[in-house]
Symmetry: C2
Subunit: 199 residues, 2 copies
């Protein structure tokens, strides 16, 4: 890219580091931004700078907000005594999109992984144990992904919280709403069958 001015090259390089964008699509994105400098590029740069400056990890739950405590932790109506444990902020956003959960969250920041040398301390698990003791929490809902690492982490947390006097639950496994049996994997069908309920 010795062809584009240096600063534009640099912009393409930085854009190409974002997930879902390679060098080629980063170039296309930058070209569109250059075409719409006023309508797209300038506002995007400004909002991005503001977010980079103001965004902070919530000291309590690990969610992203703009103060020591995130909006959910500040909201007293959400002090229901239920804490939903998720792997990352993306999962928290996914839960919030549904709007079904009225309590607070605890973002682990990943899953336990022997391969990647991720232990409980890296995952804010000690902080969860503290919160359970301090905040009068009655139920910890494990909303971890149904992957091997996610379930390993769930089992570890359940073990750590044993005897803390708190109910530990996890999301139900079964047929997705609108899902067709023919397209579901055997594991899901098996789990849905074992967890069958009276109609």
């Amino acid at each position: 890219m010795a062809d584009a001015p240096q600063r534009i090259e640099q912009l393409i390089d930085l854009m190409a580091r974002l997930p879902g964008l390679g060098p080629r699509s980063a170039r296309r994105a930058v070209l569109l931004m250059l075409k719409k400098r006023g309508a797209v590029m300038a506002p995007l740069a400004q909002v991005m700078a503001e977010v980079a400056l103001t965004a902070r990890d919530c000291l309590r739950c690990g969610n992203i907000g703009d103060a020591d405590l995130c909006a959910i932790c500040r909201d007293e109506r959400r002090a229901t005594g239920e804490v939903c444990v998720v792997e990352n902020v993306a999962d928290l956003w996914a839960m919030e999109r549904g709007g079904a959960f009225k309590g607070r969250y605890h973002v682990l920041g990943g899953t336990l992984s022997a391969l990647d040398a991720v232990g409980p301390a890296e995952l804010r698990i000690p902080l969860l144990v503290e919160r359970v003791a301090d905040e009068g929490i009655s139920e910890v809902i494990l909303a971890l992904n149904a992957t091997v690492d996610g379930q390993t982490t769930a089992h570890y947390i359940a073990e750590v919280l044993e005897g803390a006097g708190v109910a530990i639950t996890s999301l139900a496994q079964g047929v997705p709403v609108g899902g067709e049996l023919d397209y579901l994997d055997d594991g899901t069908i098996g789990a849905a069958l074992r967890a069958r309920r009276r109609f």
Copy 2:
């Protein structure tokens, strides 16, 4: 997205307008940026703001630069009398990556299109005619895409420049370097056959 803080939502919306990014991948990109605020997000915002502020269309050729004339138009060594006509800046960058062309460019900004009501005036074609008269240009190389619109535009330009005392050429059509005949379309094979040369 009533779940993420407002400014982050706004950032996701703006990112989702870039080509190659939908709402979902924009969210993923923003989450990664939020994770790497110092290493990715802040520099990206800064470079983007600088480019938005400094980037300008070259008054002569339409390339993107940082002054009235782009780096190529400023470079006297590139006053070879050859002007390569391309559809857009992306194509100019593609030509420059090869490094085979030593002259200057003229960026049309699109192709003639009756459907989209794009006429010669929208395309900087009058400016090309002026340049041929003023700059002592000896050859106009039409490097337009081998699409219907591209070739229509090429024919129109050739007509307009007839009698201007300038050689008009176009890129050769044929087998791409490293190309396998088995994977080429019939049109390309036919063009390569018609333009065959003594071995």
